[in-house]
Chain length 467, copies 2
């Protein structure tokens, strides 16, 4: 695409839309040139930090009318470069639109501005009987970014992902108007669900400015346990049995001894469970202790045929429990510390096919002589797979990782899985999209993109190639 | 729209696509001219009952290429005329595509053809540890129709509606190709969710041929109770308190003495609870009896400040319990028996605003001198409101019901609700859509319609007017 490069005339006009000088940044610093992963870097020509819907709608319309790329940005916890101005233009940094607009326990709704962090929502709700149920690990992510990637998290098995907890969105479209998609009511059979098109669209269709989330009664009781198995294979194979046991856990995570050893090495720690090579972390919540214990007992019984060893309850105030949690939470950082560069594959497959993916990873590790540590949301079939550069040159790493990424996508596709469970496609993976989902399918997405964004200026070159 | 009228040449070609003569019906009977409600009647020029995806894709492509309207049809349990050939053309009757294609407990998925009835899915799962959780009251509805209207049901509070239980769809589009939308994996952050556009689209974008549903562990324990209140107002006002009590019920339904009296009259019965004018039916499920009882106790405690009287547990094998269930299940039929003609409004409002709607209904009943009985899914804010013709002339009933419908939509809109919670817009309500949601919003839907159906032949003139 050919875009108009922002000039002084544009700056003069855009400036009139924004009431404070310090929210109109004509010389952006590197703060705005990357996301969490830093694999893609792109410096915007202009950063605008709106504080009102009106500022957003005016800027979006101007960008569309004048063929200037505009990329909405949350708190930059993304991994796939979705928030970067890869074609230059305006970075619309939403982080100052961070207010709670309405807390309505009587309708079980709460409305916030899109730039508020999950952390701030959690803090606001801490002393109230409700919670925002999705639990993405990145607590400092902006809720608008969570909407744009349909963020998953640790409780998807029981409670679903972001999509299931969003009632209403306010979205600025390229015509300069603010639209309400969805409603504060629970159900709808009233035409195509535009809300559901926006959720997961990675900011490519419009700019989400307000989000009404579902307030969910905070569970009274919750328990987490770690179950060791002789092998990771045993651990993984127990998962369908757990999920068929009649218990609906909140969380089923897996991790293997190999990843844990990275944590031991880079954090100078010792994992408290010395036996077993594979581990399941199981979370359960309920209204009563009796229910909690009965469900835990049932789930543990389901793991026995898979050689499960003695489970350790993690909520106890013991050193052992604390250390295991610390390890789980630091896994990604431990992997990052172990290699100069890394990349990630976030495929999601039917839950019974995780062993097929792990098997393919083993093959690729050997074949490519590349370390590929992984862990993930076992109960969702969503794996986080890390490709480590170690002592490779940049060229070699790029070549090998392109190959490994392609192979893992082939595996996911053959198992009827998705390219990404929760991290999105963004810029980093867009070139794989069409071969994964096909040209006909991608063309439908291209046409939908044009319905919302006829001039192709809103977060261009993300998810799929323009043509 | 001007459409091509099916001629002998079309019949000759279409006939070659369908292997059995008896599934190619050139002289349709009145079986195909109405839905459950019979407010709209339209006879198709041709009925085709496909049994394979290939038959569907060929017919869909032919219809699109030759400008012939094509309307997919399930088991005709709809209320808004969505399945009728209002512009003539082909009724694509899916009811013979009714096979179970795959039962996969290890992936928690089950794939069926779109024409299978809920009832048949329930029967197949009856002796298995899983269930299809959404519980629309119409057990003989086809699953494809449920997808097309995003059907709700009695358990939406805890488990969501159809949308939350659909993993993957196979959809025939006008290019003659069969598309896979969604996947058998649990989560996706992989581009716009086309699956979620199809769900709720009332068969206007393509023809759903296969549906992969989520298998959910069947709850071990369940209990239903009816709670009487001195007034319906008391009953309704207790609902936000129940939902804020920390309990997540499966079901919270309301009904008033007035509606119950219709059942008593037309079924020659006596409702076993003589005191109270408003009733809440509460459903709870759990893994243990302890949990069930603790949640029920908590929910009942929450109703006390609203003058709740003694609750009756409905699962007991008593005459009383059976009679109350029989009444609840026959409410719609009792209303139907009470009037020569009726129409329905299915608005869904934020749960705390149900009293505002009931208040407006009272005003309209008096002002228009029309009986407007109602009941509904209180926990979802979804009301089923019936407009009764009684002794009015057809003209008078039409005039008055148009007015009442318009007024109730105004009320729903002012409360940030939806036109329909679960019954859809169909043909009967399409003329209200644009004034409810606005021209700009409706234009987005029109453009999305054209993305999927450029020639405007797939179930035309439904949901919103073409221009």
């Amino acid at each position: 695409m050919q875009y108009h490069k922002i000039d002084q005339n544009d700056l003069d006009i855009l400036k009139t839309y924004i009431s404070d000088d310090e929210r109109f940044i004509t010389k952006p610093t590197e703060h705005w040139d990357h996301d969490q992963f830093k694999t893609v870097r792109a410096m915007p020509d202009l950063v605008i930090q709106p504080v009102t819907n009106e500022e957003v709608t005016k800027v979006v319309k101007y960008a569309s009318d004048h063929n200037i790329p505009l990329v909405p940005r949350g708190n930059s916890t993304g991994l796939m470069g979705a928030n970067l101005t890869v074609d230059g233009g305006i970075s619309l940094d939403m982080i100052k639109m961070n207010k709670i607009l309405e807390y309505s326990p009587e309708s079980l709704n709460m409305t916030v501005q899109a730039g508020i962090r999950l952390k701030d929502i959690e803090e606001f709700l801490a002393d109230k009987p409700f919670t925002y149920m999705p639990a993405p690990a990145m607590h400092w992510a902006a809720i608008g970014g969570n909407v744009d990637t349909n963020a998953g998290g640790l409780k998807a098995i029981k409670y679903g992902v972001t999509r299931e907890h969003i009632r209403e969105l306010k979205v600025a479209l390229t015509d300069g108007k603010l639209y309400k998609f969805g409603s504060k009511a629970v159900k709808s059979a009233s035409g195509y669900s535009l809300k559901d098109i926006i959720i997961g669209s990675e900011g490519t269709l419009g700019v989400v400015t307000e989000v009404t989330i579902r307030l969910y009664p905070r569970p009274r009781k919750a328990i987490n346990a770690i179950i060791p198995f002789p092998t990771l294979d045993d651990a993984i194979k127990s998962i369908p049995a757990i999920l068929a046991s009649g218990v609906v856990p909140t969380t089923v995570e897996f991790m293997g001894r190999k990843v844990i050893q990275l944590w031991e090495k880079y954090y100078n720690e010792t994992f408290p469970i010395s036996e077993g090579d594979g581990f399941i972390i199981l979370g359960i919540d309920a209204f009563t202790d009796e229910e909690l214990q009965a469900e835990l007992k049932q789930a543990l019984a389901a793991t026995k045929p898979f050689n499960a060893m003695k489970a350790v309850v993690l909520d106890a105030d013991s050193e052992e429990a604390k250390k295991i949690w610390a390890c789980r939470e630091a896994l990604l950082l431990a992997i990052q510390k172990s290699t100069p560069k890394m990349d990630e594959v976030d495929i999601c497959v039917p839950i019974n096919h995780i062993p097929d993916v792990l098997h393919r990873i083993d093959e690729l590790e050997k074949e490519q002589n590349m370390r590929i540590p992984n862990f993930g949301h076992a109960g969702d079939g969503n794996l986080h797979i890390y490709l480590c550069s170690d002592d490779m040159s940049d060229e070699e790493f790029k070549k090998k990782s392109d190959y490994v990424i392609t192979e893992l996508y082939k595996t996911a596709k053959s198992l009827d899985g998705n390219m990404s469970g929760e991290h999105g496609i963004g810029y980093a993976r867009k070139d794989w999209f069409e071969s994964y989902y096909g040209k006909d399918y991608t063309d439908i997405l291209r046409k939908i993109k044009r319905v919302f964004d006829p001039n192709y200026v809103i977060n261009p070159d993300k998810i799929f190639p323009a043509e």
